[in-house]
C-alpha cells in the first residue's frame, strides 16, 4: 500500500474535523477525495504530510509511519496545498531551483518528470510568481512539488477556481504522471473530476460516505432517475416539490433530475400532473446516474 489510513480522528475544540477515517491507496493509483469545503480534506492532507498530529488512529505513507518516520515521509512525498506554496517574489526559475535545492537535488536530475509541464511556463521563467495567472501558478506549483521525484503526490484542491479548459489540461497532466509510477491523492469539490480517478472516497463533515471506483459508486444509487424539462425551470421545481410522489428533485444543467417514491413509477402520470399545472414543452426521459446524484443521496 502506498497510503494506509486507519481509524484517524481529529478534533479542533468542539468541531470533529475527521471522524474514524479509514482507507488505502494502492501503489500507482490515482485516488480522489471528493467533497465540499469543510469536509475535512485539508486536515487529512496535513496529517498525511506530517504537518499535523491526529488525535488517534494510524497512518503510513510510502510505508513510513506519519508520526515515527515523519522525516522520511517528507523526503518521499510532494505536497501542493490549496493555497499555493510558491514564493511570490521569486521568479518562476528561482522557485523551482529553490525547491530542488531544499530537497538536495537539481532541476536537471529530474527534468524529464516535469518537462511536459515546465515547457508551458518556461517562456515566463524570469517573471515573478506573484505576477503569474492562476493557471500558470498552478503549473509552477505542480513542478515544485515534483522536482524531487516523490513516490506519492498530494494535491489539495488543485483545480478550485480554475476554468474548465485549465482543469482539463491539469487532469491530462495527472494521467501522464500516473504512468510514471507516482501515486496520487487528489482532492476536489468538482464532482465531474471524480470520474477521472481510479477510485474515489466521497467525504462530508469529516466522514467518508462511500469508497469505490467511479463506475461502481453510481450503482449504489437506489432510484431510477428521470430528466425532466419544461419551459420554466423555476415553476417546474415548485410544481415538482408539491407533487405527492416526489422523492427528490435537483437541477442538473438544462434538466432537473427527478426521482419518484414509488417503485412502479409511470412517467405518463407525471406528464399528466405537469400538464394540469399548465406546464408546456414537457420532456420526461430516463437518464444515467451521476456521481453528483450519488453524493447528494448519501449526504442527505
Amino acid at each position: 500500500m502506498s497510503i494506509s489510513v486507519q481509524h484517524i480522528n481529529k478534533s479542533f475544540k468542539k468541531v470533529q474535523a475527521l471522524n474514524n477515517i479509514t482507507f488505502d491507496v494502492k501503489e500507482g493509483e490515482l485516488f480522489g477525495l471528493i467533497g465540499p469545503d469543510g469536509a475535512g480534506k485539508t486536515t487529512l492532507f496535513r496529517i498525511l504530510t506530517t504537518l499535523l498530529f491526529a488525535d488517534n488512529g494510524k497512518a503510513t505513507v510510502a510505508n513510513f509511519d506519519v508520526v515515527e518516520n515523519y522525516k522520511s515521509i517528507r523526503n518521499h512525498v510532494g505536497y501542493m496545498p490549496g493555497k499555493f506554496s510558491l514564493y511570490q517574489d521569486l521568479t518562476v526559475e528561482e522557485n523551482l531551483e529553490f525547491f530542488a535545492t531544499i530537497f538536495g537535488t537539481t532541476i536537471e536530475e529530474n527534468y524529464d518528470l516535469i518537462k511536459d509541464i515546465y515547457i508551458q511556463i518556461e517562456p515566463f521563467k524570469t517573471r515573478r510568481a506573484g505576477k503569474l495567472s492562476g493557471g500558470m501558478k498552478q503549473k509552477l506549483a505542480l513542478c515544485c512539488a515534483l522536482i524531487h521525484k516523490p513516490k506519492v503526490l498530494f494535491l489539495d484542491e488543485p483545480t478550485t477556481g480554475v476554468d474548465p479548459v485549465s482543469r482539463k489540461e491539469f487532469w491530462e497532466m495527472l494521467k501522464r504522471l500516473q504512468t510514471k509510477g507516482i501515486t496520487i491523492l487528489v482532492s476536489t469539490p468538482y464532482m465531474d473530476e471524480a470520474a477521472l480517478c481510479d477510485r474515489i472516497a466521497l467525504i462530508q463533515d469529516g466522514r467518508i460516505l462511500e469508497i469505490d471506483t467511479p463506475k461502481e459508486i453510481v450503482k449504489h444509487y437506489p432510484k431510477k432517475i428521470y430528466n425532466v424539462k419544461t419551459d420554466n425551470m423555476y415553476k417546474l421545481i415548485e410544481c415538482l416539490n408539491s407533487y405527492e410522489h416526489l422523492y427528490s428533485v435537483y437541477p442538473f444543467g438544462e434538466y432537473v433530475h427527478y426521482t419518484d417514491k414509488r417503485d412502479n413509477f409511470n412517467p405518463k402520470e407525471l406528464y399528466q400532473f405537469l400538464e394540469e399545472m399548465d406546464a408546456v414543452h414537457i420532456t420526461i426521459e430516463p437518464t444515467e446516474t451521476t456521481i453528483e446524484d450519488t453524493f447528494m443521496e448519501l449526504a442527505k
Partner: protein, 242 residues
C-alpha cells in the same frame, strides 16, 4: 416583463498600458434575465464586471447600467445594484444580525426598514438559531446564502454574482440556484459568473469571453446547436481552446 434592457454595453474597452483587457465588447441584458458571464481565467471577466459596477472607468466605449452611465454616474449605479463575490462578502467577526444591520445602513435603509428586512430574512432562510452567531463560525453554504440576501437588501435592479457557488456542496449549490431563480422571477436581473458549466445551463442567456472579446452570446440551447456540442462544457472547451 423581459423586454426592457437594464444593461446596455457598446464597444466597451479597458486598456492597461499596451494590454487590452476588455476589447470592444457589446451586449444587452434584459430585466429579470439570468445572464451568465463566462470565460477562462484571465479572459477579462473581472475587469468587465468592475466597469459595470462602477468601480473602474472604461478606456472607451459606452455602457449604461440600471439607467446610469458608467462614465458620468458610477455612484448612481452603485446604489441600484447588489454585488456578491466569494472573496468579499460578509464581516466574519460580526454576527449575522450585525452584518444585516451594517449593510442595510450602508445601502441607506432606515432602522425600521432594516428591522423589517431582517425579520423577513430570518423567516425565509430559517436563521432563528444563528442570527446571533458570528459569521466566521458558520459553514460556507450559510455564508453564501446570507451574503446573497444581504446583496438584495435594498431591492436592487440588478445583482452581480462573482463565482457565488465555489467550493460548496452540491445540495447547497442547488439551493443557491433556487434562490437565484426566485430572485429573477421577482424581476431582479441576475448577472453571474461561474466555472461550473452545469450552472451555465441554468442561465437564460450566456456570453463567453475569450482574450478580452465576447466570442459567443446566446441561450444555452442555441449555443449547443451552434457549436454542435452536447453540453455547455463542450461549447466552452471548443471556444476557449480555439
Amino acid at each position: 416583463m423581459k423586454s426592457k434592457n437594464v444593461i446596455k454595453v457598446e464597444n466597451l474597452t479597458k486598456k492597461f498600458g499596451d494590454f487590452i483587457a476588455v476589447n470592444a465588447i457589446n451586449f444587452e441584458v434584459k430585466t429579470g434575465e439570468i445572464f451568465g458571464f463566462l470565460g477562462a481565467n484571465g479572459a477579462g471577466k473581472t475587469t468587465a464586471m468592475k466597469m459595470l459596477i462602477g468601480i473602474s472607468t472604461p478606456t472607451s466605449g459606452n455602457a449604461e447600467v440600471a439607467g446610469f452611465d458608467v462614465f458620468t454616474n458610477p455612484e448612481g449605479i452603485k446604489k441600484s445594484i447588489g454585488y456578491m463575490s466569494q472573496k468579499f462578502a460578509l464581516y466574519d467577526d460580526l454576527t449575522v444580525k450585525e452584518n444585516i444591520t451594517f449593510f442595510g445602513g450602508i445601502y441607506g435603509l432606515s432602522r425600521k426598514q432594516i428591522e423589517e428586512k431582517r425579520g423577513l430574512l430570518v423567516e425565509e432562510l430559517g436563521l432563528h438559531d444563528i442570527i446571533n452567531k458570528l459569521v466566521g463560525s458558520l459553514p460556507l453554504g450559510w455564508k453564501q446564502k446570507i451574503s446573497f440576501s444581504v446583496a438584495l437588501l435594498h431591492n436592487p435592479k440588478i445583482v452581480f454574482l462573482d463565482e457565488p457557488t465555489g467550493g460548496v456542496d452540491p445540495i447547497t449549490r442547488r439551493q443557491f440556484w433556487e434562490m437565484i431563480y426566485k430572485t429573477a422571477n421577482n424581476g431582479t436581473t441576475v448577472f453571474v459568473t461561474t466555472h461550473y458549466m452545469d450552472e451555465a445551463e441554468y442561465c437564460d442567456r450566456v456570453s463567453i469571453m475569450v482574450d478580452g472579446k465576447i466570442e459567443a452570446l446566446n441561450t444555452p440551447t442555441q449555443l449547443k446547436e451552434q457549436f454542435k456540442a452536447s453540453t455547455m462544457n463542450d461549447v466552452f472547451l471548443k471556444l476557449a481552446r480555439g
